[in-house]
Protein backbone atom coordinates (compact mmCIF):
# COMPACT_ATOMS: atom_id res chain seq x y z
CA UNK A 1 0.00 0.00 0.00
CA UNK A 2 2.87 2.31 0.88
CA UNK A 3 4.38 1.82 -2.56
CA UNK A 4 1.05 2.60 -4.19
CA UNK A 5 0.70 5.72 -2.04
CA UNK A 6 4.20 6.89 -2.89
CA UNK A 7 3.59 6.31 -6.57
CA UNK A 8 0.27 8.11 -6.29
CA UNK A 9 1.88 11.09 -4.52
CA UNK A 10 4.53 11.32 -7.22
CA UNK A 11 1.88 11.36 -9.89
CA UNK A 12 -0.04 14.11 -8.09
CA UNK A 13 3.16 16.11 -7.68
CA UNK A 14 3.90 15.75 -11.39
CA UNK A 15 0.34 16.77 -12.25
CA UNK A 16 0.70 19.93 -10.17
CA UNK A 17 4.03 20.74 -11.83
CA UNK A 18 2.49 20.14 -15.26
CA UNK A 19 5.10 17.51 -16.07
CA UNK A 20 2.73 14.54 -16.07
CA UNK A 21 2.53 12.44 -19.24
CA UNK A 22 -0.68 11.20 -20.83
CA UNK A 23 -0.01 7.65 -19.59
CA UNK A 24 0.70 8.85 -16.05
CA UNK A 25 -2.43 10.98 -16.13
CA UNK A 26 -4.46 7.90 -17.01
CA UNK A 27 -2.79 6.00 -14.17
CA UNK A 28 -3.64 8.76 -11.74
CA UNK A 29 -7.25 8.82 -12.85
CA UNK A 30 -7.59 5.06 -12.47
CA UNK A 31 -5.94 5.12 -9.04
CA UNK A 32 -8.40 7.76 -7.90
CA UNK A 33 -11.39 5.97 -9.31
CA UNK A 34 -13.19 3.90 -6.66
CA UNK A 35 -10.55 4.54 -4.00
CA UNK A 36 -11.91 6.87 -1.31
CA UNK A 37 -8.63 6.81 0.66
CA UNK A 38 -6.64 8.12 -2.28
CA UNK A 39 -9.40 10.55 -3.16
CA UNK A 40 -9.15 12.04 0.31
CA UNK A 41 -5.35 12.13 0.10
CA UNK A 42 -5.60 13.83 -3.28
CA UNK A 43 -7.95 16.51 -1.95
CA UNK A 44 -5.67 17.16 1.02
CA UNK A 45 -2.66 17.60 -1.25
CA UNK A 46 -4.62 19.91 -3.54
CA UNK A 47 -5.78 21.97 -0.59
CA UNK A 48 -2.18 22.48 0.55
CA UNK A 49 -1.16 23.45 -2.96
CA UNK A 50 -3.97 25.97 -3.26
CA UNK A 51 -3.33 27.43 0.18
CA UNK A 52 0.33 27.95 -0.63
CA UNK A 53 -0.98 29.92 -3.58
CA UNK A 54 -3.03 32.15 -1.27
CA UNK A 55 -0.12 32.52 1.13
CA UNK A 56 1.88 33.78 -1.81
CA UNK A 57 -0.64 36.51 -2.48
CA UNK A 58 -0.78 37.55 1.13
CA UNK A 59 2.97 37.71 1.72
CA UNK A 60 4.45 39.41 -1.27
CA UNK A 61 8.12 40.05 -0.79
CA UNK A 62 8.55 43.73 -1.55
CA UNK A 63 12.17 43.99 -0.45
CA UNK A 64 13.83 42.50 -3.49
CA UNK A 65 15.94 44.95 -5.48
CA UNK A 66 13.85 46.45 -8.25
CA UNK A 67 16.15 45.88 -11.19
CA UNK A 68 14.88 44.62 -14.51
CA UNK A 69 17.25 42.96 -16.90
CA UNK A 70 16.62 42.91 -20.62
CA UNK A 71 19.00 40.27 -21.94
CA UNK A 72 18.12 40.94 -25.55
CA UNK A 73 18.32 44.70 -25.38
CA UNK A 74 21.87 44.75 -26.76
CA UNK A 75 20.65 43.03 -29.89
CA UNK A 76 17.73 45.42 -30.13
CA UNK A 77 20.11 48.36 -29.84
CA UNK A 78 22.42 46.98 -32.51
CA UNK A 79 19.55 46.44 -34.91
CA UNK A 80 18.16 49.86 -34.13
CA UNK A 81 21.55 51.48 -34.76
CA UNK A 82 21.88 49.79 -38.17
CA UNK A 83 18.34 50.79 -38.98
CA UNK A 84 18.96 54.38 -38.00
CA UNK A 85 22.16 54.55 -40.09
CA UNK A 86 20.28 53.49 -43.19
CA UNK A 87 17.47 55.93 -42.71
CA UNK A 88 19.60 58.83 -41.54
CA UNK A 89 21.42 59.03 -44.85
CA UNK A 90 18.18 58.99 -46.78
CA UNK A 91 16.28 61.37 -44.59
CA UNK A 92 18.97 63.94 -43.88
CA UNK A 93 18.55 66.06 -46.99
CA UNK A 94 14.74 66.04 -46.61
CA UNK A 95 15.05 67.65 -43.21
CA UNK A 96 17.39 70.34 -44.47
CA UNK A 97 14.47 71.74 -46.44
CA UNK A 98 11.55 70.63 -44.31
CA UNK A 99 11.92 71.04 -40.56
CA UNK A 100 9.29 69.25 -38.45
CA UNK A 101 6.76 71.51 -36.78
CA UNK A 102 7.21 71.77 -33.00
CA UNK A 103 4.77 70.04 -30.64
CA UNK A 104 3.37 67.97 -33.45
CA UNK A 105 1.35 65.04 -32.21
CA UNK A 106 1.80 61.85 -34.15
CA UNK A 107 0.39 58.45 -33.57
CA UNK A 108 3.43 56.33 -34.27
CA UNK A 109 2.24 52.91 -35.27
CA UNK A 110 5.02 52.17 -37.74
CA UNK A 111 8.73 51.91 -37.44
CA UNK A 112 9.10 54.43 -40.28
CA UNK A 113 7.45 57.11 -38.21
CA UNK A 114 9.70 56.37 -35.29
CA UNK A 115 12.70 56.72 -37.55
CA UNK A 116 11.41 60.06 -38.82
CA UNK A 117 10.97 61.33 -35.29
CA UNK A 118 14.40 60.13 -34.39
CA UNK A 119 16.13 61.82 -37.27
CA UNK A 120 14.15 65.01 -36.88
CA UNK A 121 14.86 65.48 -33.23
CA UNK A 122 18.30 63.94 -33.04
CA UNK A 123 20.24 64.23 -36.28
CA UNK A 124 22.96 62.08 -34.77
CA UNK A 125 22.85 58.35 -34.16
CA UNK A 126 21.88 57.70 -30.60
CA UNK A 127 20.99 54.72 -28.42
CA UNK A 128 17.95 56.05 -26.71
CA UNK A 129 15.38 53.30 -26.07
CA UNK A 130 12.54 55.79 -26.12
CA UNK A 131 13.28 56.89 -29.64
CA UNK A 132 15.17 54.00 -31.19
CA UNK A 133 12.43 51.62 -32.22
CA UNK A 134 9.09 50.21 -31.28
CA UNK A 135 10.57 47.20 -29.55
CA UNK A 136 12.71 49.37 -27.29
CA UNK A 137 9.77 51.62 -26.55
CA UNK A 138 7.72 48.57 -25.62
CA UNK A 139 10.39 47.57 -23.13
CA UNK A 140 10.49 51.04 -21.66
CA UNK A 141 6.72 50.91 -21.28
CA UNK A 142 6.86 47.56 -19.56
CA UNK A 143 9.45 48.94 -17.21
CA UNK A 144 7.46 52.09 -16.62
CA UNK A 145 4.39 50.06 -15.79
CA UNK A 146 6.35 47.86 -13.42
CA UNK A 147 7.58 50.88 -11.58
CA UNK A 148 4.26 52.70 -11.60
CA UNK A 149 2.93 50.24 -9.08
CA UNK A 150 4.16 46.89 -10.19
CA UNK A 151 0.81 45.17 -10.08
CA UNK A 152 -0.72 45.38 -13.50
CA UNK A 153 -0.61 42.34 -15.70
CA UNK A 154 -1.99 44.00 -18.79
CA UNK A 155 0.07 43.92 -21.93
CA UNK A 156 0.59 47.47 -23.10
CA UNK A 157 0.61 48.04 -26.82
CA UNK A 158 3.50 50.40 -27.43
CA UNK A 159 2.32 51.15 -30.95
CA UNK A 160 -0.80 52.80 -29.56
CA UNK A 161 1.17 55.23 -27.45
CA UNK A 162 1.50 58.65 -29.00
CA UNK A 163 4.98 60.05 -29.47
CA UNK A 164 5.27 63.76 -28.68
CA UNK A 165 7.90 66.43 -28.37
CA UNK A 166 7.02 68.87 -25.63
CA UNK A 167 9.04 71.47 -23.74
CA UNK A 168 12.16 70.18 -25.47
CA UNK A 169 11.53 66.67 -24.20
CA UNK A 170 10.54 63.47 -25.97
CA UNK A 171 7.55 61.81 -24.44
CA UNK A 172 5.25 58.82 -24.94
CA UNK A 173 1.64 59.19 -23.96
CA UNK A 174 -1.29 56.82 -23.62
CA UNK A 175 -3.85 59.61 -23.36
CA UNK A 176 -5.05 59.27 -26.97
CA UNK A 177 -5.47 55.54 -26.49
CA UNK A 178 -7.51 56.05 -23.31
CA UNK A 179 -9.45 59.00 -24.66
CA UNK A 180 -13.24 58.87 -24.54
CA UNK A 181 -16.15 61.30 -24.89
CA UNK A 182 -18.83 61.41 -22.18
CA UNK A 183 -19.39 58.07 -20.50
CA UNK A 184 -21.44 56.75 -17.55
CA UNK A 185 -23.00 60.17 -17.17
CA UNK A 186 -19.63 61.90 -16.76
CA UNK A 187 -18.85 64.77 -19.12
CA UNK A 188 -15.30 65.81 -20.01
CA UNK A 189 -14.08 68.72 -17.95
CA UNK A 190 -13.17 71.18 -20.71
CA UNK A 191 -13.21 69.86 -24.26
CA UNK A 192 -14.94 66.80 -25.67
CA UNK A 193 -12.43 64.21 -24.49
CA UNK A 194 -11.23 62.74 -21.22
CA UNK A 195 -9.16 59.79 -20.04
CA UNK A 196 -11.02 56.63 -19.16
CA UNK A 197 -9.09 54.15 -17.05
CA UNK A 198 -9.27 50.44 -17.91
CA UNK A 199 -11.30 47.89 -15.97
CA UNK A 200 -10.17 47.30 -12.43
CA UNK A 201 -8.46 44.05 -11.50
CA UNK A 202 -10.20 42.51 -8.51
CA UNK A 203 -8.55 40.59 -5.69
CA UNK A 204 -11.44 38.84 -3.94
CA UNK A 205 -9.28 37.68 -1.02
CA UNK A 206 -8.10 41.07 0.12
CA UNK A 207 -11.30 42.61 -1.24
CA UNK A 208 -9.44 45.23 -3.20
CA UNK A 209 -9.65 46.32 -6.81
CA UNK A 210 -7.21 48.48 -8.68
CA UNK A 211 -6.28 49.77 -12.08
CA UNK A 212 -3.01 51.53 -12.86
CA UNK A 213 -2.51 53.41 -16.10
CA UNK A 214 0.86 54.66 -17.26
CA UNK A 215 -0.09 57.99 -18.80
CA UNK A 216 3.24 59.44 -19.86
CA UNK A 217 6.91 58.53 -20.01
CA UNK A 218 9.30 61.47 -20.45
CA UNK A 219 12.84 61.12 -21.68
CA UNK A 220 14.77 63.61 -19.56
CA UNK A 221 18.21 62.18 -20.27
CA UNK A 222 19.42 64.98 -22.49
CA UNK A 223 18.13 67.63 -20.13
CA UNK A 224 19.84 66.18 -17.08
CA UNK A 225 20.94 69.00 -14.82
CA UNK A 226 18.70 71.52 -16.53
CA UNK A 227 15.90 71.08 -14.08
CA UNK A 228 15.44 70.04 -10.52
CA UNK A 229 11.80 69.11 -10.14
CA UNK A 230 8.60 68.18 -11.89
CA UNK A 231 5.00 68.48 -10.90
CA UNK A 232 1.82 67.00 -12.29
CA UNK A 233 -1.83 67.95 -12.00
CA UNK A 234 -4.86 65.96 -13.06
CA UNK A 235 -8.59 66.09 -12.39
CA UNK A 236 -10.48 62.93 -11.49
CA UNK A 237 -14.05 61.69 -11.55
CA UNK A 238 -15.99 58.42 -11.51
CA UNK A 239 -19.24 56.98 -12.82
CA UNK A 240 -22.15 56.71 -10.41
CA UNK A 241 -21.98 53.80 -7.99
CA UNK A 242 -25.10 52.42 -6.38
CA UNK A 243 -23.14 51.37 -3.33
CA UNK A 244 -21.84 54.93 -2.95
CA UNK A 245 -18.36 53.55 -2.57
CA UNK A 246 -15.70 56.19 -2.80
CA UNK A 247 -12.66 55.51 -4.90
CA UNK A 248 -9.08 56.35 -4.07
CA UNK A 249 -7.26 57.95 -6.99
CA UNK A 250 -3.48 58.10 -6.90
CA UNK A 251 -1.34 60.28 -9.11
CA UNK A 252 2.29 59.22 -9.03
CA UNK A 253 5.62 60.32 -10.50
CA UNK A 254 8.59 57.98 -10.80
CA UNK A 255 12.18 58.98 -11.55
CA UNK A 256 14.04 56.16 -13.27
CA UNK A 257 17.63 55.72 -14.28
CA UNK A 258 19.39 53.40 -16.72
CA UNK A 259 22.16 51.68 -14.81
CA UNK A 260 23.63 50.06 -17.87
CA UNK A 261 22.23 49.36 -21.28
CA UNK A 262 20.00 46.60 -20.05
CA UNK A 263 18.96 47.45 -16.52
CA UNK A 264 16.93 50.20 -15.00
CA UNK A 265 16.37 51.26 -11.42
CA UNK A 266 13.92 53.53 -9.68
CA UNK A 267 15.65 56.49 -8.04
CA UNK A 268 12.67 58.07 -6.38
CA UNK A 269 8.93 58.43 -6.60
CA UNK A 270 6.17 60.53 -5.20
CA UNK A 271 2.44 60.09 -5.07
CA UNK A 272 -0.65 61.86 -3.89
CA UNK A 273 -4.00 60.24 -3.28
CA UNK A 274 -7.52 61.54 -3.05
CA UNK A 275 -10.85 59.86 -2.33
CA UNK A 276 -13.30 60.82 -5.03
CA UNK A 277 -16.85 61.72 -4.18
CA UNK A 278 -19.81 60.01 -5.86
CA UNK A 279 -20.93 63.11 -7.75
CA UNK A 280 -20.53 62.82 -11.51
CA UNK A 281 -20.84 66.55 -12.04
CA UNK A 282 -17.73 67.53 -10.09
CA UNK A 283 -14.10 67.04 -11.05
CA UNK A 284 -11.57 66.96 -8.23
CA UNK A 285 -8.01 68.19 -8.53
CA UNK A 286 -5.10 65.92 -7.70
CA UNK A 287 -1.49 67.00 -7.86
CA UNK A 288 1.94 65.77 -6.88
CA UNK A 289 5.54 66.86 -7.30
CA UNK A 290 8.95 65.25 -7.26
CA UNK A 291 12.50 66.46 -6.84
CA UNK A 292 14.42 64.79 -9.63
CA UNK A 293 17.55 63.04 -8.35
CA UNK A 294 20.82 63.32 -10.27
CA UNK A 295 20.98 60.69 -12.98
CA UNK A 296 17.27 60.65 -13.75
CA UNK A 297 16.74 59.39 -17.30
CA UNK A 298 13.00 58.87 -17.44
CA UNK A 299 10.04 60.32 -15.64
CA UNK A 300 6.89 58.19 -15.53
CA UNK A 301 3.47 59.68 -14.82
CA UNK A 302 0.85 57.17 -13.67
CA UNK A 303 -2.74 57.39 -12.49
CA UNK A 304 -4.37 54.64 -10.51
CA UNK A 305 -7.79 54.08 -9.04
CA UNK A 306 -8.29 51.76 -6.11
CA UNK A 307 -11.27 50.49 -4.16
CA UNK A 308 -11.41 48.32 -1.11
CA UNK A 309 -14.05 46.63 0.96
CA UNK A 310 -17.16 44.85 -0.17
CA UNK A 311 -17.84 47.23 -3.05
CA UNK A 312 -14.50 46.28 -4.60
CA UNK A 313 -15.92 42.97 -5.81
CA UNK A 314 -17.93 44.56 -8.57
CA UNK A 315 -15.55 47.41 -9.36
CA UNK A 316 -14.94 46.08 -12.85
CA UNK A 317 -18.44 47.31 -13.66
CA UNK A 318 -17.62 50.91 -12.84
CA UNK A 319 -15.77 53.55 -14.79
CA UNK A 320 -13.08 55.95 -13.62
CA UNK A 321 -11.84 59.06 -15.38
CA UNK A 322 -9.07 61.64 -15.46
CA UNK A 323 -8.84 64.87 -17.42
CA UNK A 324 -6.62 67.89 -18.07
CA UNK A 325 -3.31 66.31 -17.15
CA UNK A 326 -0.54 68.88 -16.98
CA UNK A 327 3.09 68.13 -16.26
CA UNK A 328 5.60 70.91 -15.82
CA UNK A 329 9.32 70.90 -15.19
CA UNK A 330 11.04 73.43 -12.99
CA UNK A 331 14.35 74.75 -14.19
CA UNK A 332 14.12 74.07 -17.92
Amino acid sequence: MKTTTQHFDKLVSKALDLTITEIEADQLSSLLDQNPTLQRRYCKTILLESLIHWEENENIDRLEPKIIHFPFLNYAFSLAAVFVCLFSAWLLHNFLTQAPPPNEVRVAPSIDHVAEELTADFPRINRDPLTDNLDSRRKILQMATEYSRGITSRNLDASKFTFRHENGLNMMSSESMLSTPSSSGVLPMVDGEMIKLGSMEIDPVSRTAEIVETLRVYDVKRKAGNFKAADAVIHINQGFSELSESTEFILSLHALSTLEEDSIIKLDSSEQSLFSDNDQSTWERLDTAILLPDGTDYLVVALSARRSGLGALNSHLHEFFGDELEVSFVGI
Partner: protein, 178 residues
Protein backbone atom coordinates in the same frame (compact mmCIF):
# COMPACT_ATOMS: atom_id res chain seq x y z
CA UNK B 1 -25.21 47.37 -14.09
CA UNK B 2 -24.89 44.39 -11.73
CA UNK B 3 -24.70 45.17 -8.04
CA UNK B 4 -24.22 42.70 -5.26
CA UNK B 5 -25.60 42.92 -1.74
CA UNK B 6 -23.11 43.23 1.08
CA UNK B 7 -24.14 39.95 2.67
CA UNK B 8 -23.81 38.10 -0.61
CA UNK B 9 -20.40 39.66 -1.26
CA UNK B 10 -19.27 38.44 2.14
CA UNK B 11 -20.42 34.93 1.32
CA UNK B 12 -18.59 34.95 -2.00
CA UNK B 13 -15.44 36.27 -0.36
CA UNK B 14 -15.58 33.71 2.45
CA UNK B 15 -15.48 30.71 0.12
CA UNK B 16 -12.71 31.90 -2.21
CA UNK B 17 -10.07 29.54 -0.86
CA UNK B 18 -12.42 26.56 -0.86
CA UNK B 19 -13.59 27.41 -4.34
CA UNK B 20 -10.07 27.67 -5.71
CA UNK B 21 -9.12 24.36 -4.10
CA UNK B 22 -12.20 22.71 -5.59
CA UNK B 23 -11.41 24.02 -9.07
CA UNK B 24 -7.78 22.96 -8.73
CA UNK B 25 -8.87 19.48 -7.67
CA UNK B 26 -10.81 19.09 -10.91
CA UNK B 27 -8.20 20.75 -13.07
CA UNK B 28 -4.70 20.63 -11.55
CA UNK B 29 -3.31 23.62 -13.41
CA UNK B 30 -2.92 26.75 -11.32
CA UNK B 31 -3.09 29.28 -14.14
CA UNK B 32 -6.22 27.77 -15.63
CA UNK B 33 -7.74 27.32 -12.18
CA UNK B 34 -7.21 31.02 -11.46
CA UNK B 35 -8.97 31.95 -14.70
CA UNK B 36 -11.89 29.71 -13.87
CA UNK B 37 -12.08 31.13 -10.35
CA UNK B 38 -12.44 34.63 -11.80
CA UNK B 39 -15.12 33.47 -14.23
CA UNK B 40 -16.97 31.68 -11.44
CA UNK B 41 -16.87 34.78 -9.24
CA UNK B 42 -18.39 36.88 -11.98
CA UNK B 43 -21.18 34.37 -12.53
CA UNK B 44 -21.80 34.14 -8.79
CA UNK B 45 -22.19 37.92 -8.71
CA UNK B 46 -24.59 37.82 -11.65
CA UNK B 47 -26.67 35.00 -10.18
CA UNK B 48 -27.32 36.45 -6.76
CA UNK B 49 -31.05 36.56 -7.42
CA UNK B 50 -31.08 32.87 -8.28
CA UNK B 51 -29.53 31.81 -5.00
CA UNK B 52 -31.89 30.29 -2.47
CA UNK B 53 -30.80 31.62 0.96
CA UNK B 54 -32.00 28.43 2.58
CA UNK B 55 -29.66 26.36 0.44
CA UNK B 56 -26.02 25.48 1.04
CA UNK B 57 -24.03 28.31 -0.50
CA UNK B 58 -20.77 26.44 -0.89
CA UNK B 59 -22.47 23.55 -2.65
CA UNK B 60 -24.22 25.95 -4.98
CA UNK B 61 -20.98 27.79 -5.74
CA UNK B 62 -19.18 24.48 -6.34
CA UNK B 63 -21.83 23.45 -8.84
CA UNK B 64 -21.28 26.68 -10.77
CA UNK B 65 -17.51 26.19 -10.60
CA UNK B 66 -17.90 22.60 -11.82
CA UNK B 67 -19.85 23.79 -14.82
CA UNK B 68 -17.21 26.43 -15.56
CA UNK B 69 -14.45 23.81 -15.42
CA UNK B 70 -16.31 21.60 -17.88
CA UNK B 71 -16.94 24.56 -20.15
CA UNK B 72 -13.26 25.51 -20.00
CA UNK B 73 -12.14 21.98 -20.81
CA UNK B 74 -14.51 21.71 -23.74
CA UNK B 75 -13.40 25.08 -25.06
CA UNK B 76 -9.65 24.71 -24.71
CA UNK B 77 -9.09 20.95 -24.91
CA UNK B 78 -5.47 21.32 -23.90
CA UNK B 79 -5.31 19.98 -20.36
CA UNK B 80 -3.78 16.56 -20.04
CA UNK B 81 -5.61 15.98 -16.82
CA UNK B 82 -9.11 16.77 -15.75
CA UNK B 83 -11.01 14.61 -13.33
CA UNK B 84 -14.58 13.56 -13.64
CA UNK B 85 -16.37 15.52 -10.96
CA UNK B 86 -17.94 12.50 -9.30
CA UNK B 87 -14.50 11.06 -8.49
CA UNK B 88 -13.58 13.72 -5.98
CA UNK B 89 -16.72 15.74 -5.45
CA UNK B 90 -18.05 14.05 -2.31
CA UNK B 91 -14.68 14.10 -0.60
CA UNK B 92 -13.99 17.65 -1.80
CA UNK B 93 -17.12 19.04 -0.18
CA UNK B 94 -15.84 17.80 3.17
CA UNK B 95 -12.12 18.50 2.76
CA UNK B 96 -12.65 22.01 1.39
CA UNK B 97 -15.11 23.06 4.05
CA UNK B 98 -14.38 26.69 5.00
CA UNK B 99 -13.69 25.92 8.66
CA UNK B 100 -11.32 23.13 7.81
CA UNK B 101 -9.54 25.32 5.25
CA UNK B 102 -8.89 27.92 7.95
CA UNK B 103 -7.35 25.32 10.24
CA UNK B 104 -5.19 23.85 7.48
CA UNK B 105 -3.93 27.25 6.49
CA UNK B 106 -2.88 28.01 10.02
CA UNK B 107 -0.92 24.77 10.25
CA UNK B 108 0.54 25.13 6.77
CA UNK B 109 2.25 28.41 7.55
CA UNK B 110 3.91 26.77 10.57
CA UNK B 111 4.99 23.77 8.51
CA UNK B 112 6.27 25.91 5.66
CA UNK B 113 8.64 27.65 8.06
CA UNK B 114 9.91 24.29 9.27
CA UNK B 115 11.16 23.28 5.81
CA UNK B 116 14.96 23.06 5.46
CA UNK B 117 16.48 26.20 3.98
CA UNK B 118 17.32 24.66 0.59
CA UNK B 119 13.82 23.26 0.24
CA UNK B 120 12.31 26.59 1.18
CA UNK B 121 14.32 28.24 -1.56
CA UNK B 122 13.02 25.80 -4.18
CA UNK B 123 9.51 26.12 -2.72
CA UNK B 124 9.70 29.90 -2.98
CA UNK B 125 10.68 29.70 -6.64
CA UNK B 126 7.88 27.28 -7.47
CA UNK B 127 5.02 28.37 -5.23
CA UNK B 128 5.64 32.05 -4.65
CA UNK B 129 7.49 33.11 -7.80
CA UNK B 130 5.53 30.60 -9.93
CA UNK B 131 8.62 29.51 -11.85
CA UNK B 132 8.38 26.45 -14.06
CA UNK B 133 10.49 23.35 -13.39
CA UNK B 134 12.67 24.34 -16.33
CA UNK B 135 13.22 27.86 -15.01
CA UNK B 136 14.08 26.58 -11.54
CA UNK B 137 16.44 24.03 -13.04
CA UNK B 138 18.30 26.78 -14.89
CA UNK B 139 18.34 29.08 -11.89
CA UNK B 140 19.80 26.58 -9.42
CA UNK B 141 21.82 24.72 -12.06
CA UNK B 142 20.36 21.30 -11.30
CA UNK B 143 18.63 18.79 -13.61
CA UNK B 144 14.87 19.08 -14.06
CA UNK B 145 14.39 15.59 -12.64
CA UNK B 146 16.12 16.62 -9.42
CA UNK B 147 13.87 19.66 -9.11
CA UNK B 148 10.77 17.49 -9.63
CA UNK B 149 11.99 15.11 -6.92
CA UNK B 150 12.68 17.98 -4.53
CA UNK B 151 9.22 19.38 -5.09
CA UNK B 152 7.75 15.94 -4.47
CA UNK B 153 9.65 15.72 -1.18
CA UNK B 154 8.58 19.24 -0.22
CA UNK B 155 4.93 18.27 -0.74
CA UNK B 156 5.47 15.07 1.22
CA UNK B 157 6.98 16.96 4.14
CA UNK B 158 4.24 19.56 4.17
CA UNK B 159 1.57 16.87 3.93
CA UNK B 160 3.01 14.88 6.82
CA UNK B 161 3.62 17.94 8.97
CA UNK B 162 0.10 19.31 8.40
CA UNK B 163 -1.47 15.91 9.09
CA UNK B 164 0.46 15.62 12.37
CA UNK B 165 -0.32 19.10 13.63
CA UNK B 166 -3.83 19.58 12.31
CA UNK B 167 -5.49 17.58 15.08
CA UNK B 168 -3.91 19.81 17.71
CA UNK B 169 -4.79 23.04 15.93
CA UNK B 170 -8.40 21.98 15.32
CA UNK B 171 -8.71 21.02 18.98
CA UNK B 172 -7.28 24.41 19.97
CA UNK B 173 -9.72 26.22 17.68
CA UNK B 174 -12.67 24.25 19.09
CA UNK B 175 -11.48 24.97 22.62
CA UNK B 176 -11.23 28.73 21.96
CA UNK B 177 -14.68 28.69 20.39
CA UNK B 178 -16.22 26.95 23.38
Amino acid sequence: MTSVSIKYSQMVTAIQKSLYAFILSLLPNRTEAEDILQETNLILCQKENEYNPEGHFQGWAFSIARYQVMKHITKHKRSKLCFSTDIVEDVAAEEFDTKRVQAVQKVLSLCYDLLPLKMRFIAKLRFKDEKSIKDISEKVNRPMGAISSTLYRIRQKLFQCVTDKLVLVEAEMDFKKS
